[in-house]
């Protein structure tokens, strides 16, 4: 399964994940103090500048991650134009963009296994029992392994429906789809037990 980490190498890729996450928390907190349009523009400028070491292609990846927000931006922006509070609307949207783009930057420059390692270290630091940590690791591995398998089976169910009906595949497919997941879970549990248990 392909994660969102960017192939384009930036200097931020080399930084360890823990400090990056900490800086992100502090940045998001600091943004709550941004209240004017000029300050919000400066914040966006800072984040945009952080994308530059990766080049234009990297910046474009960052922009693509922001695209799902355009509906929300139109809604909120339109609301504020209608109520006459354009400046406030601009501050809200720019602040959000600065926060989300910063978070996306961390996601783009940190690999999945590095993030998992941070989680592992945090759990060990909080003295979480080792049996729980092992089970969590197993659950994570199973989920990552089976998501593409289930997605493919879902696609096959849709194809099978289309071969048998002119109507569009609907909610009824959820029953066999969920059954696939539940039956797989029973079988995998048996397989784990056969190998000594979790």
């Amino acid at each position: 399964m392909i994660s969102l980490t960017s192939d384009i190498r930036t200097p931020w890729h080399r930084l360890p994940a823990g400090p990056k996450l900490l800086v992100l928390c502090l940045w998001t907190l600091a943004l709550t103090w941004v209240g004017t349009v000029p300050a919000a523009l400066v914040a966006c400028g800072v984040v945009a500048a952080l994308y530059l070491p990766g080049g234009v292609a990297f910046l474009r990846q960052g922009v693509r991650l922001l695209k799902p927000l355009w509906v929300f931006a139109v809604l909120v922006g339109g609301w504020h134009v209608v109520t006459g509070e354009v400046a406030q609307g601009a501050v809200i949207l720019l602040r959000l963009a600065a926060a989300i783009a910063a978070a996306n930057l961390v996601t783009l420059t940190t690999r999945l296994d590095t993030m998992l390692a941070v989680v592992e270290r945090a759990l060990a630091a909080f003295r979480v029992p080792e049996t729980f940590r092992k089970r969590l690791a197993l659950a994570v591995a199973l989920m990552i392994r089976f998501t593409p398998v289930l997605a493919q089976k879902g696609g096959q169910l849709i194809t099978a429906w289309r071969a048998r009906s002119p109507r569009r595949a609907g909610w009824r497919l959820m029953v066999p789809f969920a059954l696939t997941a539940l039956d797989d879970a029973e079988r995998v549990a048996d397989a784990i037990r056969a190998r000594g248990g979790a």
């Binding site: 799902p68 783009l108 990552i144 879902g154 849709i158 029953v175 539940l182 995998v188 549990a189």
Partner: protein, 179 residues
């Protein structure tokens, strides 16, 4: 114990797969995403505790950078955005749905599971979603409710469908509810 782990992990994978398989169209040809229905089903099928854990596992992997939310969204950015309230509310919604589903275990055909899904997956979820939206955007609760109310009918339909699907699953696998 192994069965609990695999049920949680596989159901989390199911919720993720629902985000990756976009062509499940639902009522009246409107392409509503099925993922929130997956959260409701986690509660009705797995129960409160396992359902909530499955959703938490799913969210954990989204946070770590996998594009598993419908539309291929993922990473830490979604937790900084306007829908963060809904994301935080997902495991709570699954828990509440599961709590009611277990309390009414095996009774009521599809109506009681659907009602459980509405209580958890619509009412509780939207409380979290609206509060989250208000906090992130700085708008009032009233304004946030007005904006989010648009999506409630679609999710109410999904809750009824979740009830029907749960009824079908219970008939197909009678031993399901055993914890």
């Amino acid at each position: 114990m192994e069965r609990n782990i695999t049920l949680i992990a596989l159901f989390a994978a199911l919720i993720a797969a629902l985000g990756l398989v976009p062509k499940f169209d639902f009522a009246f040809g409107v392409p509503i995403t099925a993922q929130s229905m997956g959260v409701m089903l986690a509660g009705t099928v797995l129960g409160a505790r396992r359902g909530a854990l499955a959703v938490l596992l799913f969210l954990g992997l989204v946070a770590l950078g996998l594009p598993l939310l419908s539309g291929g969204r993922g990473g830490l950015g979604v937790f900084a955005g306007p829908t963060v309230g809904f994301l935080v509310g997902f495991p709570v919604a699954a828990f509440v749905t599961g709590w009611f589903a277990q309390a009414w275990a095996g009774k009521g055909g599809f109506v009681l599971p659907a009602l459980a899904a509405i209580l958890g997956g619509v009412i509780v979820l939207y409380v979290f979603g609206i509060v989250g939206f208000a906090l992130v955007t700085g708008k009032s609760i009233a304004a946030s409710t007005a904006i989010m109310a648009v999506f409630i009918p679609g999710d109410a339909i999904k809750a009824v469908l979740a009830g029907l699907i749960t009824q079908g699953l219970r008939k197909a696998r009678p031993g399901l509810a055993a914890a």
